[in-house]
Amino acid sequence: MRSIIVVFMLFLSLAANATIDTYEFKDDANRERFQQLTNELRCPKCQNQNLAGSNSPIASDLRREIHRMVEEGKQNTEITDYMVARYGEFVLYRPRMSASTWILWYGPFVLVAVGFAVVLLITRKRKRVNEKQEDSLNDKDKTRLATLLDKGKAE
């Protein structure tokens, strides 16, 4: 049994998202910041990878720059500003709030609200139609209906 598990474990692999360069950090907070930044910044060359996962030369240059800035004690916003100034908003995997990106942030909520509004409208309309049907005959129609039904009974 145990050997079977071991064999299965051999096939199991976790997503590896690391490159080989090694950096020294002053403290763990800096290391964490570096990892967070390289995870959230996109590689301009290989567009579906972040800086942490890319092996392209430009990504390693940018990692070096980010490492330098982190160790210099620059704020995260300063570092992302530095990147955006060179490569544009494109490099941010977590886009900033601006006139052109608000739809990304609030679009889903707007859609949910619209959905709710539509459901509400439909149920209300249904309710109104049902109420109308209950009392849709006027007095004249009612007497006519009664006579017609009586006629049917008589025959």
């Binding site: 430009i58 240059d61 060179r86 490569y87 544009g88 494109f90």
Partner: protein, 179 residues
């Protein structure tokens, strides 16, 4: 009113279809440069040919020109080199070069062998200027105006078609400055 509601799904479909159709034609690898209409970043780097001569952003001013980022390790740069020679020699356009993360000897040899279209070459061994310019893949070609302001950026090889585009931008710039 009721009729109109029936058409809403069709309208949504048509709008989305048009959007996706347009998206198909776009090239996702083409990034808009963040530096358009901004001056070339400050730098202080040696010339490729003359180690002792230091170049700065002021050396790129004077007239509208092309700024070409190249390297000997870049196959596409070799592909576009003949076109650059043609632009420089036949059209008389000023082309500045940035030799990006390259070896001096190899770069000099390259220019000797394939002819040199550049007025001057900046030797950016560490890629520092490249980083400030937002270079993410050589070759890249920028159009500069007479004040050294970046007006356009092209990523990839310059061929005849791209040159036509660059030429119209250069002409636009020179008519602007005259008028």
């Amino acid at each position: 009113m009721r009729r109109f509601i029936l058409f809403i799904p069709l309208i949504i479909f048509v709008v989305m279809g048009a959007l996706f159709w347009k998206g198909l034609g776009l090239d996702p690898t083409e990034l808009p440069s963040a530096l358009i209409d901004k001056p070339v970043p400050d730098f202080n780097l040696p010339s490729l040919v003359d180690d002792n001569r230091m170049l700065t952003q002021n050396d790129l001013k004077g007239k509208p020109a092309l700024l070409n980022v190249w390297a000997t390790w870049c196959p596409t740069c070799k592909q576009e080199h003949a076109q650059l020679n043609k632009i420089a020699r036949e059209e008389g356009v000023t082309i500045y070069g940035i030799n990006y993360k390259d070896e001096r000897g190899a770069a000099k040899e390259w220019l000797r062998r394939y002819r040199d279209p550049y007025v001057v070459n900046i030797f950016d061994e560490q890629g520092a200027l490249g980083l400030d310019l937002g270079v993410y893949g050589a070759p890249e070609t920028y159009v500069l105006d007479a004040n050294g302001v970046i007006r356009y950026k092209h990523v990839g090889a310059v061929d005849e078609k791209v040159w036509l585009k660059l030429e119209t931008i250069l002409q636009q710039i020179s008519t602007e400055s005259q008028g």
